[in-house]
């Protein structure tokens, strides 16, 4: 079908593409699920739609009622996805955004008519979470859907991303994704563990203390409630750190497979390569990774064109992956 009543019908059902050209081992197939194909440009479209629909079911939000305000901390993609849906529904969205995210994110939020509240860049995503919690306490009349604790976040992945992966890749042996709110890992992880016993769930995290937009280290002092609520420590089979330089290198290498993806997707691919390297030569394995978004929002960082050491140095000052 190529005709749709609403752009929201285009959320999900993203394609999975074979990127085994980048696999370090011939016996390991690697596939990437291209979440940049979602209409607002990232995997977070699924989460944002699920958060809004749950709030409407609970009548926290009512379409058509005037002067309804939402506040949400986001380093970018959730804010952008919420902003698109809020624009359609007529809600006013305030996004608490670390001041040092890439300028494209800021522009996109403004394009969807969201209001930006800056949080200190030095405090990263955790600072945005704290500020949003404080503002929400001061303004109980604002809807605070709080993606880090809302079960509608992993539920979106349990009901859509997970089933799509298993339908398209029934031979999956490993699922590798980044750790942000942990929604993708918890939702897809639970679905796969229930429906394909033996699948391994691998988390990729940035080094502690690094500013990594969209990904977060659990060691940075904030563990998302949905991680603990879903027994994340038991759900995960492995958790590996990927360093900024590896992330940029693999973001660039993804172009060898024809993929122009965001930097967290490069980080996750680097994690998938680490995973592939653990598979014995006489075993077949099929790794599915999530490419959370496309590269467009990161062009200003010079990630593909500038000297890699320069890009990595910049990564320490600006949140861009």
């Amino acid at each position: 079908m190529a005709r749709y009543a609403s752009i929201l019908e285009l959320i999900g059902n993203t394609p999975v593409v074979d990127v085994s050209a980048l696999s370090p081992k011939p016996n390991v197939t690697v596939l990437a699920k291209l979440e940049g194909r979602n209409p607002a440009g990232s995997v977070k479209d699924r989460v944002a739609l699920s958060l809004i629909e749950a709030a409407e079911r609970d009548e926290i939000l009512v379409p058509g009622r005037p002067d309804q305000v939402l506040i949400e901390p986001s380093s970018g993609n959730t804010g952008i996805a919420l902003a698109m849906i809020c624009r359609l529904r007529g809600y006013h969205l305030k996004v608490v955004l670390p001041s040092n995210v890439s300028p494209e994110r800021r522009q996109l939020l403004l394009a969807w008519d969201a209001e930006i509240i800056d949080s200190p860049g030095s405090e990263g995503s955790n600072g945005a979470v704290r500020m949003a919690q404080r503002l929400s306490n001061e303004h109980p009349e604002w809807a605070f859907l709080y993606q880090y604790a809302n079960p509608a976040n992993p539920f979106a992945h349990y009901t859509t991303t997970g089933p799509e992966i298993l339908a398209d890749v029934p031979e999956i042996t490993h699922f590798v994704a980044g750790l942000g709110t942990s929604g993708t890992l918890m939702g897809v992880g639970r679905y796969l563990k229930e429906n394909k016993p033996g699948v391994q769930i691998w988390a990729v995290e940035p080094p502690s203390g690094e500013m990594v937009d969209g990904l977060r280290s659990l060691e940075d002092g904030y563990i998302p409630p949905i991680f603990t609520d879903n027994r994340g420590a038991e759900m995960l089979d492995r958790k590996v750190v990927v360093r900024p330089k590896e992330s940029i290198e693999w973001t660039r290498r993804m172009t060898e497979a024809g993929l122009f993806v965001g930097i967290s997707s490069g980080a996750v691919m680097a994690g998938a390569v680490k995973c592939a390297n653990t598979i014995p030569d006489d075993e077949q394995a099929t790794i599915v990774t999530i490419a959370s978004d496309d590269g467009w929002k990161y062009l200003s960082t010079g990630a593909w064109s500038d000297d890699i050491d320069l890009v990595v140095e910049r990564a320490k000052k600006i949140i861009y992956f």
Binding site: N126, S208, L218, E219, D220, G221, Y222, I223, P225, T228, A233, L236, D237, R238, K239, V240, V241, V242, R243, K274
Partner: protein, 93 residues
């Protein structure tokens, strides 16, 4: 077998300011016990009384979280780099 352990900033004062320490051990448990033998005051931050990993300590062998590799039983090879990262306890929930 000796392994290189990278010491995080918060533990350095208790470890004579060292940024890396080379210790003997073939498991993470042996490596951590060797550290506490040399620097007894850090014991409470590394291991529980029953010898398991302290809840707020995260240990990586070559960037792989040992909690998913068998914890204190995780194997250590000669050229492995071990990183200790204490979690900030206050934000755990």
């Amino acid at each position: 077998m000796s392994a290189v352990v990278r010491i995080p900033t918060v533990l350095r004062p208790a470890m004579a300011g060292a940024t890396t320490v080379t210790v003997e051990g073939v498991t993470i448990g042996e490596v951590l016990r060797a550290l506490t033998t040399s620097y007894p005051s850090v014991k409470g931050q590394l291991l529980n009384d029953d010898g398991t990993l302290h809840r707020f300590l995260n240990v990586y062998v070559n960037d792989d979280d040992v909690r998913y590799l068998g914890g204190v039983d995780a194997a250590v090879a000669g050229d492995d780099e071990i990183t200790l990262l204490p979690a900030v306890a206050g934000g755990a929930r």
